[in-house]
């Protein structure tokens, strides 16, 4: 795959390194240090940091502004954008805003339904869906055009990705759905957190059988479990999450004070095993409000030091 943008993440992937990304949730307030501190903790251990966009529909500092804080610190951001809250005018406008700060990565999502968040009485927009958002970014980048047809002065240069859930229903379209995202323009994929490795490997095999792994960089998503309670919650309450019984049991059988450590062990073992799976090109470590654990995970999983590649500007 040829390099199309100045993104450091894209460069690392194109050179065949296993990439490591992580994510930070912006604060529920306007303190820039909340973002910067999280980024400071992990910046030397990851290649890029996703900033979530009002995740679980809870109102937070905007993803774009948090990305700008990162960029100004010299950390490579991945701007997450959901289609829930913006129409096509706001979407294109925010993409240009990001591009004006030379933010070079974007992850296109539809977003959780607002009923999960702090404004369940609000409207949702969904003028575009995540596939159409991918297409929009490509139109803006590759053709230098707005959706309305006019030319863009200094088009954005975004390395563009999408999420994939290898465990989502309906089963029969798990692979076609990825093919569709690639056709819409996804160049990298960050998956849902993986606890069911057998099922994930089965999915990867189908992807490789269709040759899709040659067309997209797949970063396997992992989230360290903090406790048995979290494992149960993820299993039972988070839609589209697959936490097998033996993982829940392993956490539950560990004494409470040792559970965080065990969660990290599981996470490191997951990375170790998935490293050798064909088509896996890196890892997306989502340590939810537990960013301080990311460096240890990266080191223990043998992914440190990170390749030295200077971001272009």
């Amino acid at each position: 795959m040829s390099v199309k943008t100045p993104s450091k993440l894209e460069k690392i992937l194109s050179e065949g390194h296993l990439a490591v990304t992580s994510e930070c949730g912006p604060p529920r307030g306007s303190d820039p240090d909340a973002v910067k501190k999280k980024a400071e903790l992990i910046k030397d251990y990851v290649d890029a940091v996703n900033i979530t966009d009002n995740q679980t529909s809870v109102t937070r500092m905007s993803s774009l502004s948090a990305c700008i804080h990162l960029k100004l610190m010299g950390v490579e951001p991945v701007l997450q954008m959901v289609t829930r809250d913006r129409n096509r005018i706001a979407i294109q406008s925010d993409i240009l805003g990001a591009a004006s700060f030379d933010i070079f990565n974007m992850l296109c999502l539809s977003g959780d339904h607002q009923s999960f968040g702090d404004c369940p009485q609000g409207q949702n927009v969904h003028d575009l869906d995540s596939m159409q958002l991918l297409q929009t970014v490509h139109l803006m980048r590759d053709e230098g055009k707005f959706l309305g047809g006019a030319d863009i002065n200094r088009p954005p240069k975004m390395f563009v990705g999408a999420a994939a859930n290898p465990f989502a229903d309906p089963f029969e379209i798990r692979t076609p759905r990825l093919a569709k995202k690639i056709a819409a323009g996804a160049e990298f994929i960050q998956t849902q957190c993986i606890y069911n490795l057998d099922k994930f490997e089965e999915w990867m095999k189908q992807i490789c059988d269709r040759g899709l792994h040659e067309k997209v960089y797949i970063l396997a998503g992992v989230t360290p479990l903090k406790s048995a309670g979290m494992a149960k919650f993820m299993k039972n309450r988070v839609p589209g999450m697959d936490v097998p019984d033996d993982v829940v049991k392993r956490m539950a059988d560990t004494p409470k004070e040792k559970q965080p450590e065990e969660g990290i062990n599981i996470c490191v073992e997951t990375i170790e095993r998935l490293k050798s799976v064909e088509g896996v090109k890196g890892f997306h470590i989502m340590a939810i409000e537990w960013e301080e654990k990311v460096p240890g995970i990266v080191e223990r999983a043998g992914l440190y030091p990170r390749p030295k590649i200077e971001a272009e500007n």
Binding site: Q135, D169, I173, P176, P239
Partner: protein, 222 residues
């Protein structure tokens, strides 16, 4: 049909508590089928209000009429001679009927007696579900006859989202995932390959987004 449900009687009382003569006006169409505003419901609301006013020691005259349709000038004319006598008219028609009444009878306050909910169908007695949001550019032809605009909680045209689980939508275990239904249907039609065709960005200008809509048919105008 248009599906509506009864408003809480407390809200209706709030509108009319100072009135002396009230007309409750039902409609024989959709709201009769969904048991929210037909003749039967007119009767029930009238009795409830009579009881209420009696308990309050107030003498209030409450009349009941149910028209064939309230979204039609012709039928609304039927109350031309009596409308002015009332201090208030409570219309149990959908929002269209209530507005048509208000446009026609300027001097009498018209209050809605139902909440108009959606375009849907009776799935079983006592259960009505949404099927259409009148987007003005029907795409059922490419989605296997199942509408993602009205039935997907995120109106995804290229679904499903990652939250689809066991055939249900991420927002509720009681709600079918529209995209599961679409895929099942495409499979039954042996058209699953069509799933991979990307549905282009929709022109929403025919939807609510484009402003109040009009259909003009010069060929049938007199």
């Amino acid at each position: 049909m248009i599906v509506a449900e009864k408003k809480p009687v407390e809200e209706i009382i709030e509108y009319v508590q100072d009135c002396r003569k009230i007309l409750i006006l039902g409609c024989n169409e959709c709201v009769t089928v969904c048991e929210a505003g037909g003749k039967k419901e007119v009767g029930v609301l009238a009795s409830t209000l009579r009881m209420y006013f009696l308990n309050q020691g107030k003498e209030v005259k409450i009349d009941e009429i149910t028209l064939e349709r309230q979204c039609d000038h012709e039928y609304l004319e039927e109350i031309r001679d009596v409308a002015d006598q009332y201090d208030a008219i409570i219309s149990l028609a959908c929002g269209v009927g209530v507005q048509f009444m208000a446009e026609k009878y300027h001097s009498v306050p018209i209050y809605p007696g139902v909440n108009t909910c959606f375009l849907g169908a009776t799935e079983e007695r006592g259960l009505w579900t949404e099927r259409c949001q009148a987007c003005g550019n029907c795409m059922l032809g490419i989605t296997g006859g199942i509408c993602p605009v009205s039935r997907c909680a995120k109106r995804l045209l290229n679904g499903p989202c990652g939250g689809s689980s066991n055939g249900k939508c991420e927002i509720s275990k009681d709600l079918d995932c529209a995209w599961q239904l679409i895929i099942d249907r495409l499979k039954a039609l042996d058209r699953l390959d069509d799933y991979e065709k990307i549905c282009p960005i929709k022109d929403w200008s025919t939807d609510r987004a484009g402003g109040p809509r009009k259909v003009v048919r010069e060929d049938v105008q007199i």
